[in-house]
């Protein structure tokens, strides 16, 4: 297995399966931040110190201690091209911060890409676990288990009062960030979304777009995560997020049901119109693609469109990102060229064709 597999396949294995409540929740993720005692945080580390941290932490996977959790590969960021990095970011396997700013950065990836362990990101160690659908508790159990393995091998910076010490005071304490990626088209269509999202922010949760901090909520995709990491236990944080997400799922389903009952023909029109445009357009910018794909996903979930599977939509979500497009067609492109290639790729996928750009797969 080489690093190329990670950057060539759009779908991580975990995304191929469908999880619980996957009509609304795309994925559940838990990230845990840890640092080593007696080492400056990555921001202030010298190259030599960063290399020491890298060595100590990658040793854990080299020595086979992670084997109970599957096969892992260690990829040094310095071995990757700019494009490879961008693709890994688009697949949510590494953070933009690790891709752009790290020194001595590395990622330890599980074969199915459900676990990615980042080294020398903002913190020395960031363990991230992703599951399809609504499985946030399971993601935390997995992350906590991997955390125990690293803790057994390395002394963590931990303080009795403050908990796990992190570079940013917004992560201190549990160091946990749990999030669910939700597709909420009906709440947006019925204009309830703002009311619901502002309620969410009032119970200590944050809402972001598809690519995390500072990204727009394109394609009706919203990432909801805990804001508070100190003072609550991990279980409380997970339960709080779980409870709120559960309510949003029910609201979204109720809104979908009402849309079908009250304006079925308009929804059918919207869904089929978007499907038609995606299967025929010659130029497609990323914003329009995100919106149209959201319509098609809604149609598939409501049983209005039988031609598409959620799999294909998950895949297109990643494949139509700029880095991935350039990787697929193996060329550097201007935004205009990308829009043309994006349209081509979506057309082919929706029409059941799989061979584009001459990339072997």
């Amino acid at each position: 297995m080489t690093k190329h597999r990670f950057s060539e396949d759009a779908l991580s294995d975990w995304m191929r399966g469908t999880g619980p409540d996957s009509d609304v929740v795309i994925s559940s993720r838990v990230r845990v931040a840890r640092n080593l005692r007696n080492q400056p945080f990555p921001m202030l580390a010298t190259s030599q110190q960063a290399a020491e941290v890298l060595n100590r932490l990658t040793e854990v996977s080299r020595s086979g201690k992670l084997d109970a959790y599957g096969r892992f590969d260690t990829i040094l960021l310095s071995d990757l091209s700019e494009l490879d990095k961008r693709v890994l970011v688009e697949k949510h396997l590494i953070s933009p911060n690790l891709a752009n700013e790290s020194r001595g950065g590395a990622v330890i990836l599980s074969e199915n890409e459900a676990v990615s362990i980042m080294i020398n990101e903002e913190d020395h160690l960031r363990i991230q676990c992703l599951y399809p659908g609504f499985q946030i508790g399971k993601a935390w159990t997995l992350a906590s288990g991997i955390d125990d393995i690293f803790e057994d091998a390395a002394d963590y910076a931990f303080d009795e009062k403050r908990g796990y010490l992190t570079t940013c005071p917004t992560n201190v304490g549990t160091g946990i960030r749990a999030s669910v990626m939700m597709h909420l088209p009906a709440l947006v269509l019925t204009q309830q979304i703002n009311r619901i999202l502002s309620a969410v922010t009032q119970v200590g949760l944050a809402v972001r777009g598809l690519y995390g901090e500072g990204s727009e909520a394109l394609g009706n995709l919203f990432q909801i995560s805990n804001q508070v990491t100190l003072g609550q236990s991990e279980d409380e944080i997970i339960e709080n997020l779980h409870g709120v997400a559960r309510q949003i799922i029910e609201h979204e389903r109720a809104a979908r049901k009402r849309l079908l009952e009250e304006s079925r023909i308009r929804i059918e029109d919207r869904v089929n119109r978007s499907f038609g445009i995606l299967s025929h357009a010659a130029i497609m910018d990323s914003k329009e693609a995100a919106q149209r794909l959201s319509d098609v996903r809604l149609g598939a979930d409501l049983g209005l469109l039988k031609e598409v599977t959620p799999n294909v939509l998950n895949e297109l979500l990643v494949m139509t990102q700029p880095g991935f497009l350039q990787q697929t067609f193996n060329e550097k492109m201007s935004p205009e060229q990308r829009d043309i290639r994006r349209a081509e790729l979506i057309r082919d996928r929706l029409n059941g064709k799989n061979d584009h750009g001459g990339v072997e797969r």
Binding site: S144, D152, R162, T170, Q227
Partner: protein, 173 residues
Amino acid sequence: MFCQECGKRPATLHFTKIVNGDKTEFHICESCAREKGEGIPGTPNSFSIHSLLSGLLDFNSPGSAAHSQLSPQSVRCEQCGLTYAQFSKIGRFGCSNCYNAFADRLDPLLKRVHSSTSHNGKIPKRSGAQIGCKREIEQLRRELQTYIEQEEFEQAATLRDRIRELERKLAEL
């Protein structure tokens, strides 16, 4: 409303954060947001939580005696050399010792961000064995007190023995 950054164009991006009734707001225009990297994931310099955080750090906390004695420039972490002034600018600590070095000033910040100042979650198994042991002793002492008050001396005696055992274990750790 005008953009907080340039003061010229109307603010079109609004960011509001409410933690326990404490409200922080940001209003900027699209062009300033773009300049800061907003909306382009992956750009270095992303308009990030850190820049928002430094806004939270920039306040006086009356009632903190240690605070007025020293200027932010002169409070320094011995281990990594970061000053409190630098910390409040970048919103990030340099090393784990910074938490001790700036301890006097952290409570108000952590309260604002998390509505809490102390950890209540997972403890590392190996290096945290002592802490786990201490917490257990504290818990048992509280239970012991209840038994004594209820004059249930038999249970109290069992607990007392358990506490002694834990204290011996703690001394060995």
